[in-house]
Symmetry: C2
Subunit: 358 residues, 2 copies
């Protein structure tokens, strides 16, 4: 039996495997510190499309295509796709993945969507409802600025607390087994793929709740989201009876340098010191100095592409044995912002472990 | 074991129970044919709030409050809440249910969201990840018109194919048992609630894929969504080896009178005649003649409040033994519409059965 720990956490009886994954990013991300690790870097941020939104759809389409290609699976081998993005009514998803004709369960958790999609995806597999599912999410700097803040043409000045939305998409194939069956691999004309081991395994997760500290600054999302990250992390430590030192890294999605400080301080007040283990995808993905990104990267794509390109690589190579991956989301829209509402946060955590033999 | 039927369908080994539910609607819905059945009808559509969006958030808050009240459960007795709405970045949900502090998994399926939330919610319970979850969704006529079409103040003329977005929210408590345990009921000071039987049970579901026939008319959503309803229904009949006559009713969410015709025609071409069983929540909820709603009601709230107030009542009383409940969603945003994109559809189906002893 899968075990509920408290009400927010789940300890999987049998791990769910991340069979393979793919990352597609824009030019700026390709020029950043993780640049060489991404599967595909766009030559320009339009990706051959006519609009920013269409370009973002294309990112999802490409990420899914590459992830399927690496596993040797076809769309028909996938039961469900869990997908979402930042745009109103998730249109990057709706127009990005339709061609695959995979039954879709749309998710929304702002920039925590990568974590949410993998949480629900892992439930679908561990619950016995599917053998393989896909999880995909994306963001695009230009479509996000248009959706949430100012037209790019306006050229507004960005405060130092602001983050830079990552142009990128990450797709993940989750499976109940570490390799795909020989039958499927042969049927798909790729018999060698039956020997490709999964990249890592998911062994548990903690689902976050909405945490609202009343902050209203959409140019300081790190501070808006940090309280939710602190809440989910504390709940996680309590539910699993674990300590920060049990993880090689505790990895948030896109708190950036401002949010990181707030998170570490908030957790210290709760009696946990995560300063030695904490890492933030938003801080890793850009060189803040030379790339002028201020507090760091953000967006659904930020944690998704960093997971695929960097975190899973470290787990695969056994550099890290166990990490806590926790994408963070800021729950706002331009309407809620214009109506003077606060920016609540939400964060979902997954325990990812290496499957490399010691 | 839960059984996968094909890749899109799930046959639950042990049913998931709809312990109880609640519906909250606006004035116009209260004046419609189902008016007397709703739990709460607002005196005006602002529900004491300052903005339409806040009013919609309030609908969700009230629906959850009433549903919990009927079951005698407290927010802390619920593991996860699966919620979403039509607004950009699901803000009705973000600002509606935060106060309950229940771990949130946000879902987006346009007007199919009620079906999606119950599908994923049922997976969480049947997979052994939770004993009780909440599913809630909403829509609001004024916030939806603002989000998708024209400002109300503009007073545009509505074509006869258009539907009227329902102002309403439906909340559902799903559970792994037909009654809540005596221990919980007594701890919550409501011992009598331990004798309240569930309203119905979920025994299977079929997850839909995106279906795009290239239609671009956001004033004729019924026609845009009907192909997806036909696709999910055909898949459902194939996967479960069932026929239209196996269900007392086959109930779509908000196709309205135009979409209904298209659906029945499309399924006839596939060899299924559902004309005797078909019912549409959008057609039931308003009196098209006297209420000037044209093709019918629509929105996430349409199928949700009709399920809670009317469909579950029929199952509870044993008038119907088994129905297929299939909310339908149109995947558009004002941005995708303005950029000339089509309006794809998605529909998710759930088998709901009466638990009344024969």
């Amino acid at each position: 039996m899968n075990q509920s720990l408290g009400r927010a956490s789940i300890c999987l009886e049998k791990p769910v495997y991340i069979l393979n994954s793919a990352s597609v990013v824009g030019t700026k991300e390709g020029e950043g510190p993780l640049g060489p690790l991404f599967d595909m870097v766009g030559e320009d941020d339009m990706f051959g499309c006519n609009t920013w939104e269409e370009a973002e759809s294309n990112l999802q389409k490409d990420a899914v295509y590459l992830a399927l290609g690496k596993t040797g699976l076809k769309p028909a081998d996938i039961s469900f796709i869990f997908a979402g993005d930042l745009l109103g009514q998730s249109i990057a998803t709706s127009f990005g993945i339709a061609t695959y004709e995979i039954p879709l369960l749309g998710v929304y958790g702002a920039c925590s969507t990568c974590g949410e999609s993998m949480t629900v995806g892992a439930m679908a597999i561990a619950g016995g409802f599917a053998e393989r599912v896909l999880c995909v999410t994306s963001s695009h700097f230009a479509s996000a600025e248009k959706e949430f803040r100012f037209p790019l043409e306006y050229g507004n000045q960005r405060p130092l607390s602001s983050t830079w939305t990552v142009t990128g998409s990450g797709a993940f194939v989750l499976s109940d087994t570490t390799v795909i069956s020989k039958t499927i691999a042969e049927a798909n004309g790729q018999p060698d793929k039956a020997r490709t081991q999964a990249r890592a395994k998911i062994t548990g997760m903690t689902v976050g709740k909405i945490v609202d500290f009343g902050l209203k600054d959409s140019m300081n999302m790190g501070a808006c989201m940090a309280p939710s990250a602190a809440s989910t992390l504390e709940q996680h430590f309590i539910d699993f009876g674990s300590q920060p030192c049990d993880y090689d890294r505790i990895i948030t999605g896109d708190l950036g340098s401002v949010g990181q400080k707030v998170l570490i301080d908030l957790l210290r007040e709760k009696g946990y010191d995560i300063s030695a283990q904490h890492m933030d995808c938003g801080i890793e993905i850009f060189d803040a100095e030379s790339q002028d990104t201020h507090a760091g990267g953000s967006g659904c794509g930020c944690s998704a592409v960093t997971l695929s390109a960097y975190i899973l690589k470290q787990l695969e190579e056994g550099v890290w044995k166990k990490v806590l991956f926790m994408p963070t989301g800021a729950l706002l829209s331009k309407t809620s912002f214009n109506e003077g509402q606060s920016v609540p946060g939400i964060s979902h955590a997954l325990i990812l472990e290496s499957i490399r033999e010691k």
